[in-house]
């Protein structure tokens, strides 16, 4: 690289950093105050883009930007007041689920309102050319963005440091309970913060339209980038978000400049993993104040009553008899449901009793699937052998990554699991010769004696039921109790001689191993695997299933898997806007049963008994 191209790449990085900062700042503010992991932040950004690109044709680009930002702010205020406000009392993860449901609804709304095609906006009037810098052409608009990012940072800084509102926001960010004890009007504070965050997201989206088209795929990609930035910078830290956005954008620009463009697929996750391993609370973050007293406290784990055991046995027996009454597709669908049930139960194992909220559990599902695929296709192992040994690869992966993850806590841990999952994903995605790259591996069929739908159904039924029963059983063992103990009070656990990290590490590996069993079964049921087997969306599906079913009960994930898979299958077949419908169903469930479906049923049963 010449000096002039180094300079230009540096400026390119700065321009990208500004856009990234806007969306990350809003996310960080919202998280800092309300503790909501707002999946819908990327959707707000997307709305900003579409509103601006729609308005730009009529009133010009420069007017469309503030209007779009205000419109999105208004939408954000509505969302906060009508939806989120009702569920602040619910467990934090459930709030995240609600925002995820919003993602689905907003996406389908956008499709309905603006149509499926990408819309490339106009160039910014007045800044539609390029200037010559060190012999290279550089867009004027990018110079504007480079200046705009720091301006927003300065404005936010003044707002936070110089106004009473800012003082309240900072107080709430540091210690929410303290702030509420000091008589802060939380309702108003939360609404205003969410509105401002939404406004920043909308602004970020609107300002992007001279640089890129509005597309329906932008929402999740932006929110993941923004999370990475927020976590690297340290949750709730605005300057941290700025520095992290700068860091990520520059590293990306120079990866490209130096000819390592393939690295851009994963570099941000590598940076995040490195930062978190070295600084467990991000660059500018502080060790979070642990909430005092019990949050949502679970009831003690009681052994299942005779009735419950009888019911579970009856369900299993009914499943065993199912092929007598139904064939064909019912069995195919049931295989999927059983596999996702095991996947969800393994996630619940580490999330619920283990207390480690993994956002990268699909990695271990995928490792199981790839383990099976690689053994069968690359090593030529028989299907039975591949199926038996594949989960070990997942367990091994979980053992390696878990070692790092259990050293962190809270959202940082969650994001590190995501980072590792993305790193594995990108390796699988790019290692063409070995993993088949983006196309994956095909030709993974079960051995002839298991090839019929009925035979494979029985294989899945036996494997999944046994694995689920085993996981449940472990929860009643001293090890399972120790996991819960380490979650309930790490301090106390440590003070009675428990090695908390080692316990959690073991738990993480067990969960990974069992997810791997599900993955291996999945591979042979589909005949092929691709990197999507371990993509973020599968991790999200897992979370949705667990939360939908209810994280505080053991059977919740199973019913969640059944409901979610069935819903997706039926909706996708019968309704055009099925995503929005699923989103709406999830929202309704969250509002009606904040403790999940099974939690709700269990509570009702208990009420009737007493």
């Amino acid at each position: 690289m010449t000096y002039s191209s180094i300079l230009i790449q540096f400026l390119n990085g700065l321009a990208s950093a500004s856009s990234l900062f806007l969306v990350a700042a809003g996310l960080s503010l919202i998280f800092g105050v309300t503790r909501i992991v707002n999946f819908a932040h990327g959707s707000l950004y997307m709305l900003g883009m579409y509103v601006a690109v729609g308005l730009a044709g009529q009133i010009g680009f420069w007017w469309s930007v503030p209007l779009a930002a205000l419109a999105v702010a208004g939408f954000g205020a509505l969302v906060e007041a009508l939806l989120l406000r009702r569920i602040y009392g619910a467990p934090e993860l459930l709030q995240a689920l609600a925002t995820f449901a919003l993602v689905l609804v907003v996406k389908d709304y956008t499709l309905w309102q603006w149509g499926p095609e990408d819309i490339l906006g106009p160039r910014a009037p007045g800044l539609d050319g390029a200037v010559t810098i060190a012999g290279n052409r550089f867009p004027e608009y990018d110079l504007f963005l480079i200046a705009f990012g720091p301006l927003v940072l300065a404005a936010l800084w003044l707002l936070l440091k110089r106004t009473r509102w800012g003082t309240l926001v900072r107080a709430a960010t540091q210690d929410r309970e303290m702030a509420s004890a000091l008589g802060v009007n939380q309702r108003w504070l939360f609404t205003s913060v969410f509105t401002l965050g939404a406004c920043l997201a909308g602004l970020g989206g609107a300002l992007q339209i001279p640089r890129e088209p509005a597309t329906l795929l932008i929402d999740l990609s932006v929110v993941v980038d923004a999370f990475v930035v927020v976590v690297i910078g340290g949750l709730g830290s605005i300057p941290g978000a700025f520095v992290a956005a700068f860091l990520i954008a520059e590293i990306k620009a120079f990866c490209i400049g130096l000819g390592y463009s393939t690295l851009t697929l994963v570099i941000e996750f590598i940076v995040m993993a490195v930062v978190l391993v070295i600084r467990p609370w991000g660059l500018f973050g502080r060790k979070p104040v642990l909430p005092r007293g019990p949050g949502a406290i679970e009831r003690p784990l009681t052994p299942p009553s005779r009735t419950v055991i009888a019911a579970l046995v009856a369900v299993t027996a009914a499943l065993a008899l199912l092929p007598l009454a139904y064939g064909g597709y019912t069995l195919v669908l049931m295989v999927d449901i059983l596999i996702f049930a095991l996947f969800a139960v393994s996630l619940h194992f580490i999330m619920g009793p283990g207390g480690l909220h993994s956002f990268g559990h699909a990695a271990y599902f995928g490792l199981g699937a790839y383990g099976a695929g690689l053994l069968a296709v690359r090593a030529g192992a028989p299907m039975e052998v591949s199926l038996a040994f594949a989960p070990l690869l997942a367990g091994l992966g979980a053992l390696v990554f878990g070692w790092f993850c259990v050293r962190l806590s809270g959202v940082y841990l969650t994001m590190l699991t995501l980072a590792f999952a993305q790193i594995i994903w990108s390796i699988v995605f790019q290692w063409d010769d070995f993993t088949g790259g983006s196309n994956g591996i095909v030709g993974l069929w079960p051995a002839p004696w298991l090839a019929s739908k009925t035979a494979y159904y029985y294989l899945t039924l036996v494997s999944c039921v046994a694995a689920i029963a085993l996981l449940w059983r472990v929860l009643y063992s001293p090890f399972g109790y120790a996991l819960r103990a380490a979650r309930d009070s790490p301090t106390r656990a440590d003070a009675i001689g428990m090695d908390v990290r080692q316990l959690q590490w073991a738990g993480f590996a067990v969960a990974g191993l069992f997810a791997g069993i599900a993955g291996a079964l999945y591979a042979f049921s589909k005949g092929s695997i691709s990197p999507e087997t371990m993509a973020v969306s599968r991790s999200v599906d897992g979370l949705v299933i667990v939360l939908l079913g209810g994280i505080q009960t053991l059977t919740g994930p199973v019913w969640g898997a059944a409901l979610f898979t069935w819903l997706q299958d039926t909706m996708a077949r019968n309704i055009d806007y099925w995503r929005a419908v699923i989103g709406a169903v999830i929202l309704l469930l969250v509002l009606a049963f904040p403790q999940g479906i099974t939690g709700f049923v269990a509570e009702r049963l208990e009420q009737r008994r007493t």
């Binding site: 406290i297 001293p478 109790y481 120790a482 103990a485 106390r492 656990a493 009675i496 428990m498």
Partner: protein, 247 residues
């Protein structure tokens, strides 16, 4: 021989010397109170003893063995029990299960995957609960207990590994005055009965002077006095430190 011997212990944070050259010892069956105004270094001292912090200089010996560089869980394994200023119990478990956890850990049965945790050491747990007067609440979830009862549960947990030393950080904090004496009496009886050495910090001077065998006084990170309650009460430096608050 003393159970716990602290020699020339020092710890600084940045430029602030939180604990400076502190030495004292606790004998078996003895209740030693550590007192001092806020910021005197009591909490730092406790965190050094239980392994939460590493000392800059000095020595901590438990039964002649150095505790320096050991993690809290390793210190516990040697026979040091602990209660917290703000109670820390396992909220999703019953009272009995909380004690069972300590017993499982004591017997090194935590990695067992297939026995039923709730059936292990049930009798032992109930016996411990009986000693602290919580036997009748064994089935209740810890999350719903009254604060004083939680303190008792903590005591039972601390006794589970038959400790020779018990570290109690503000054992009566947050309790009603009437309950305080009761809890401290219980602790004292258990300690004396089982020859356990007890080191505790306490704000409530009534509790201290009623139950402690000896008292060490910290101020500004330094140990300014130690001796029997009568001696400490009469000590000039102590009177000066506590002037206005307790004199």
């Amino acid at each position: 021989m003393s159970v716990l011997a602290v020699k020339n212990l020092s710890k600084a944070f940045g430029g602030v010397q939180a604990v400076r050259d502190v030495s004292f010892a606790v004998a078996a069956g003895e209740l030693l109170a550590m007192i001092g105004p806020n910021g005197a270094g009591k909490t730092t001292c406790f965190d050094l003893l239980n392994g939460q912090l590493a000392p800059d200089a000095g020595e901590i010996e438990f039964e002649g063995r150095s505790l320096r560089g050991l993690a809290p869980r390793e210190i516990w394994r040697l026979g040091v029990g602990r209660t917290f200023q703000i109670t820390a119990t396992f909220g999703s478990m019953t009272v009995r299960e909380n004690v069972q956890m300590a017993l499982l850990s004591h017997h090194r049965r935590l990695s067992s995957l297939f026995s039923l945790a709730a059936k292990r050491y049930r009798g032992e747990a109930d016996a411990l609960l009986a000693r602290v007067g919580m036997r009748d609440q064994a089935e209740r979830p810890c999350a719903v207990l009254a604060y004083g009862d939680l303190k008792r549960v903590e005591l039972a947990i601390a006794l589970a590994n038959q400790p020779r030393l018990l570290l109690m950080d503000e054992p009566t904090a947050g309790m009603a005055p009437g309950e305080r004496g009761e809890l401290m009496q219980l602790a004292a009886d258990l300690a004396r009965g089982s020859k356990i050495a007890v080191l505790f910090t306490e704000h409530d001077m009534d509790v201290v002077f009623t139950h402690a065998d000896r008292i060490v006084v910290l101020s500004g990170g330094e140990l300014i006095a130690q001796g029997s309650p009568q001696e400490v009460r009469a000590h000039a430096a102590v009177r000066e430190v506590y002037l206005g608050s307790y004199a």
